[in-house]
């Protein structure tokens, strides 16, 4: 692999990683605070994408606003999921959460078919991004650069939100010790609803960000979710910086895998997941 290819594929990989990162961030926060493993997280990605399509193309709202609205719509759905469903099974075994959210995967997949039809939907690329810049002598999509930028910006915002605001403090508190936080007068139920819809928002935003380059289909939710699990596990369940690193690893794996081990890319990702779980179950950044 030449140096140029290394750089170019690397950048491609990083842009891939950003979608995964936004998704994994949501899953990680939800797990860290609520202890929920949300199988429908990928479906929220899908819904985000469809919403963005509708706002941007059908309702002709401008692109930026569409992204925002799509993310908020995702948050709304997330809050409903938590407030009226998940809330009632926290005391049950982990498996019940998985089954419940799996039910939502099925529901959302068909909902997409009902509202948007079975055919793949993709809006036109907004003019601003509709060009390429030359990197190592080859055209590189401006949109992918934008995605990288957004991903990093989002990380910064997340960090500010969680480490520098009192709300973030509350979240981290209840993540580390629910009872304690409750005792300190935090309204846990409300916090959970907010946190879960925040997580859903991140997923929906990732999907919305994806629409111009990744067509939305009713099945896309299940195809992304496993990747997100891999990322979250590699980073260490509930470990946000870890999720970022995990996303980078998988993104780059996919990008370089095409060149290095084209016939084993899938196997390799699962192998990494297994090795991390075996030797660093708390994740690469989680310590032993």
């Amino acid at each position: 692999m030449t140096f140029d290819a290394l750089v170019y594929q690397g950048l491609i990989g990083v842009s891939l990683a950003m979608y995964l990162w936004l998704l994994a961030a949501g899953l990680t926060i939800a797990f860290g605070v609520l202890g929920v493993v949300n199988f429908a997280h990928g479906s929220l990605y899908m819904l985000g994408g469809y919403f963005a399509f509708t706002y941007y193309l059908t309702l002709e709202i401008n692109f930026w606003l569409s992204l925002l609205l799509a993310a908020l719509s995702g948050a709304a759905i997330g809050s409903i999921m938590e407030r009226f469903f998940l809330r009632y099974i926290y005391h049950l075994d982990l498996a019940y959460q998985i089954l419940l959210t799996f039910g939502f995967v099925l529901i959302f997949a068909d909902a997409a078919r009902i509202f948007w039809g079975g055919i793949p939907l993709i809006p036109p690329m907004p003019e601003v991004f509709d060009s390429t810049v030359r990197i190592v002598g080859r055209p590189f999509p401006v949109y992918n650069l934008f995605v990288i930028f957004v991903g990093i910006a989002a990380s910064a915002l997340l960090w500010l939100l969680l480490d520098k605001t009192s709300w973030g403090e509350t979240v981290r508190a209840s993540a580390s010790d629910r009872e304690m936080a409750g005792a300190l007068g935090v309204n846990i139920p409300r916090l959970f609803t907010v946190v879960f819809s925040f997580a859903a928002m991140l997923a929906a935003f990732s999907g919305a960000l994806g629409t111009p380059v990744r067509a939305m289909t009713p099945g896309i939710g299940t195809s992304v979710i496993i990747d997100v699990f891999i990322v979250t596990v590699i980073g260490g369940l509930g470990n946000l910086p870890g999720a970022f690193v995990g996303a980078l690893i998988i993104g780059l794996m996919k990008a370089y895998g095409v060149l290095l081990f084209p016939d084993a890319d899938l196997f390799m990702t699962y192998l990494i997941m297994a090795l991390v779980l075996l030797f660093r179950p708390k994740g690469l950044l989680g310590g032993r």
Partner: protein, 336 residues
């Protein structure tokens, strides 16, 4: 949670048990009267039931949530298919698939039982998907995404003893019925054997088991292997039925089926997964007859069941219906 309450009962339940047990036996034996489609469906339900009961030995009776059981189902199925394509001997195929799955479970389990809870679930998922990607990629052996097709439903032969042709679906159905019953009966014996006591004790208090002088990991591995064997047998039985093996049976979505069956029917009960397996198929069958949007309908039902029947159907029956009946007949003697 509470495995042992499910092992105590009332005289009322005994009578119901006798009646219903007889009814079930008759129903299952009479299935062929309903024609090929029902035979086919029931055979599939029985196979899922065995698959789920194996899963449940891990989940309810050892406290481990495996999310990669499809791997052993698929290994059992593919090995059986390979054998049948080479030598047309049903018994050889089934036994081969069973053993292969057992060995795989022993090896992978050895690595997986280091963890519990979500870490265990994720680890089993990872290994499960590795098996899936191998099956998908190793085209020369597994036929890639086309899978192995045209597998003969070979006759059941024990040289010099017997030879039964399996071309008829109802014959094969009875074969499945017998093996599934044996498999489930074996696991049911395990559950109330010393081994079963040990496993449930591990579920309830790891440290106490350790300080009774037992290696917790060793017994977890044993449970994992038994579950793998059950999955393998189920997979091996599935292949001659459909006369093909496809990678879909190794995918994580297929690992979800025993989970769904178990939770629908009732975790922490022995019969739960069996009831759930039947429910799962029946619900879907009914749904697809009425709507093309079966996914949404099934999803809504699943959500409703999780929220409404938290303990699953069986335990709801146990906890609510039976006590009501019992009270009406002032039948005491419940230890609960």
């Amino acid at each position: 949670m509470d495995g042992w309450t499910t092992l105590t009962k009332t005289r009322l339940e005994t009578r119901l048990a006798l009646a219903a047990g007889a009814a079930l036996a008759v129903a299952l034996l009479a299935i062929p009267l309903f024609g090929d489609y029902v035979i086919w469906l029931t055979a599939n339900m029985l196979i899922l039931a065995l698959f789920a009961v194996g899963f449940n030995l891990l989940f309810s009776f050892t406290g481990l949530l495996s999310f990669g059981q499809a791997a052993y189902f698929a290994i059992g199925g593919y090995v059986c298919a390979k054998i049948l394509l080479a030598v047309p001997s049903l018994l050889l195929g089934i036994v081969g698939g069973l053993l292969a799955a057992g060995v795989a479970a022993l090896i992978i389990g050895f690595l997986c039982v280091r963890h519990t809870e979500i870490y265990f679930a994720m680890l089993t998922l990872a290994f499960g998907m590795m098996v899936h990607s191998i099956i998908w990629k190793w085209r020369s052996v597994t036929g890639g995404d086309d899978g192995l097709v045209g597998v003969p439903r070979a006759p059941l032969e024990i040289p010099g003893v017997l030879s039964v042709d399996m071309a008829d679906l109802d014959r094969y159905y009875y074969f499945v019925l017998v093996l599934v019953s044996l498999g489930i009966y074996a696991i049911w014996r395990v559950v109330r054997s010393p081994l079963g006591l040990t496993l449930q004790s591990i579920r309830d208090s790891e440290s106490r088991v350790t300080f009774s002088g037992l290696s917790v990991r060793k017994y977890r591995l044993i449970a994992f292997t038994i579950a793998g064997l059950a999955s393998g047998l189920a997979g091996a039985l599935m292949v001659p039925l459909g006369r093909s093996a496809s990678p879909a049976i190794a995918n994580w979505t297929f690992s979800a089926e025993p989970v769904i069956a178990t939770l629908l029917g009732g975790a922490f009960t022995f019969a739960g997964p069996i009831v759930g397996a039947f429910l799962f198929y029946i619900i879907k069958e009914i749904v697809v007859i009425f709507t093309g949007y079966w996914m949404m309908t099934l999803g809504i039902i699943v959500v409703a069941l999780v929220l409404g029947f938290r303990g699953g159907v069986v335990s709801v029956v146990q906890r609510h219906l039976l006590p009501l009946l019992a009270r009406r007949r002032n039948d005491t003697g419940e230890r609960r």
